[in-house]
Amino acid sequence: MATVKFDEATRLYPGNDKPSVDKLNIDIEDGEFLVLVGPSGCGKSTSLRMLAGLEEVNAGKIWIGDRDVTNLSPKDRDVAMVFQNYALYPHMTVADNMGFALKIAGVDKGEIRKRVEEAAKILDLTPYLERKPKALSGGQRQRVAMGRAIVRSPQVFLMDEPLSNLDAKLRVQTRTQIASLQRRLGVTTVYVTHDQVEAMTMGDRVAVLKDGILQQCDSPRRMYDHPNNVFVAGFIGSPAMNLLEVESTDGGVLVGDSTVAVERDRLAGASGKGLTLGVRPEDLELRTDGHGIAVTVDVVEELGADAYIYGSTKAAQHVDEEDSDAPEKPFIARVDGRRPPAKGETVYLAPKTGHVHLFDAQSGLRLGD
């Protein structure tokens, strides 16, 4: 087991003028499950492959434990790329299917047996070790495949979108399984996904990347409650945070026809070139006094206890970081599932006190705490 350190690690592809990964700094603790997440082209896979030794590091360094691995070949790094989909060999026993890679590596028989038995115990496969894979259920086979990586007892597991070819239901099940397995093994793991829900449910910490630059690296809770910038605010959370262009006014910011109170010193760092207000769908309240953000309800999604309303508002311009040509994002609010508004109705919403996020419109950076 080991720590992993990205130290100003940079990957610039020949012929590009912008690095695909730009001065990445992350310290990963021993035994930690770190998820790299971001939209396609953000540099998450490239970062993982730099750690694996598949991509060159053009500047900066990468450390595993106290070893500088920046220029080591992949097989000398003691990392294992874990694939979700191995073929199992039909004529070999489960034990041999799990341990054969160790035989190739020249590990002696007794040690192989020991490691296979340990892995089998963790994976609940002990009674099946002498059987052929044909006799196993689908889930057991999948665990045998995982066992193959576990017995190598690498210092770091690397996983690059391992669930991408599973259907939605299996993906959720396997995701839980990988996360709990990782916790039982306690092996430092770096996991890449484009899916923020996967990232938030699996990681001890989540690192959000965009355009090759690390946006934020925090625990899922902190990331959700305290996004460092507009991009993270909009990327993390489902349904997404509402982001609105607003103006400052006496004692706060003006949203629709009402003022949302904001402490004066929070606005101190603003550039004066506009403000972005962020409010999560669950942090909105329905108002009955006809004040607040007027939203015309387009869709009501009833989930039992809660309902989500998707609507449009003229009260403020919705901020869309990613693509200014995209159709405008709906304004989303969570309301009481027992008394949801009707489609077509206009409702008035206001952010709950203390639950607004404020960003500088120019830099995109969070204002205040």
Binding site: S73, K75, H91, M92, K103, G139, L170
Partner: protein, 416 residues
């Protein structure tokens, strides 16, 4: 069900296949052979308009990506299966969504490695397969293709004058880059080595591996063969100014390995006493291109080498060294190659490809001549070969299944 079919040359008969059924349950009447192989996905071979197609059930985005990747690989002339199309938007009769299907053409006269091991074996089959895979991997890497899942199972083999030619079958994990880093190449090699060892150990456990073959030693051969070939094809060579013959020598060695040199970088140091050369662009198919130009025959590299040798002996034997090479080649084709390959009775035509048959007949003639103590005419050799050797050969035109167990690892979590 609103099916969505992407294909470069769509065949309306595609619509008659039972897309509303999970591939695993397709009735036998549609299938070209019973399900076989150790693919991690469900794969079936179907008959369609006189063709055999491989159908793989897989998520739509991955199917489309692999389809496009195979198209690109075909365009850049890397040996791989030909993509036929993608069928997506499938639903079963109750309207539940089904995964998409990637369809590829079955490669005629190709053999899965397991089929080769379940036949009676010639010595060294495993090493010849690995040699072929090493050539394929080098060619893929030279083109900037990182495979990500190199294995014997993801490769098909065609006989090639006693050796084999390898074709890529599964490009699902592959990526095309401008060029590959050393790390990417090493990773592919490491995956290859581990997968091959696993595959050979499995054959061993099933009693199919040649006696005396060590799975681990044999799997290491992929690394040595690959490295030798890669170094020869890309390595920098330095020599004194007086040794300029070494430029020709390098080109000759590359030709011998079956590669043409398209671009060779030559530079001298500043006082001009040493010269360095390094091949920058090499093209596989040195012999097969030459044979194609002379005769129009499109065959594998070693077969071409063999046929060109026979063409040379024909030229010498008929004393026509001073004639135009194209004219002699045309005569050889009309008087030797075509009559010999046409001698095979129709019911045995599916056993071997014509060029491979010709190679076998040349071999057979050599043994006959040795026994007789004098040269035997090729006409006698083919008669004897068809009478005594060919009938016992298996049909190999469409080998799509051998006796192994299908076992997709991705299956329902039925126990947790």
């Amino acid at each position: 069900m609103a099916l969505n079919i992407t294909a470069s040359r769509p065949d309306p008969a595609l619509l008659d296949l039972p897309w509303e059924l999970p591939l695993e349950t397709w009735p036998e009447e549609y299938l070209a052979a019973l399900p076989r192989g150790i693919s991690r996905h469900v794969v079936r071979f179907v008959k369609l308009s006189g063709r055999v197609l491989a159908v793989k059930e897989i998520k739509a985005d991955i199917a489309v990506r692999e389809y496009q990747m195979l198209r690109v690989l075909n365009k850049i002339e890397v040996p791989c299966v030909e993509p036929f199309g993608v069928v997506s938007g499938r639903t079963d009769r109750d309207g539940n969504p089904l995964d998409a299907c990637l369809i590829t053409q079955h490669l005629q006269f190709s053999l899965p490695y397991r089929a080769l091991f379940s036949q009676s074996l010639r010595e060294g089959t495993s090493t010849r397969l690995i040699d072929a895979l090493a050539v394929l991997l080098v060619r893929l890497h030279l083109s900037g293709f990182w495979w990500g899942d190199v294995s014997l199972s993801n490769t098909l083999f065609r006989r090639d004058a006693g050796a084999f030619a390898a074709y890529l079958v599964d490009a699902e994990t592959g990526e095309l880059h401008q060029s590959l880093t050393d790390g990417q190449r090493e990773h592919d090699l490491d995956i290859a080595r581990v997968n091959i060892a696993g595959e050979l150990m499995d054959l061993e456990a099933g009693g199919f591996l040649e006696a005396g073959t060590d799975a681990v030693d044999t799997s290491n051969r992929i690394v040595t063969r690959y490295t030798e070939l890669w170094d020869e094809l890309t390595g920098l060579e330095r020599f004194e100014r007086g040794d300029r013959w070494r430029v020709d020598e390098r080109i000759r060695r590359l030709n011998e390995l079956g590669f043409d040199v398209d671009e060779l970088a030559i530079s001298t140091d500043f006082d001009g006493t040493t010269i360095q050369i390094q091949p920058k662009v090499v093209d596989a198919g040195h012999h097969s291109r030459r044979l194609l130009r002379l005769t129009g025959l499109d065959v594998e590299e070693n077969q071409a080498r063999r046929l060109l040798n026979d063409l040379d002996s024909y030229r010498a034997g008929t004393d026509r060294q001073n004639d135009d090479e194209e004219i002699v080649a045309h005569d050889w084709l009309a008087k030797i190659y075509e009559p010999i390959t046409r001698t095979v009775p129709r019911d045995m035509a599916a056993k071997l490809e014509p060029a491979e048959l010709f190679h076998e007949v040349l071999e057979h003639r050599w043994y006959m001549s040795e026994r007789a103590g004098h040269d035997m005419p090729i006409e006698d050799a083919i008669r004897d070969y068809v009478a005594h050797v060919l009938p016992s050969k298996p049909d190999e035109a469409t080998v799509v299944g051998v006796d192994t167990v299908e076992m997709p690892v991705v299956a329902m979590f039925d126990d947790r």
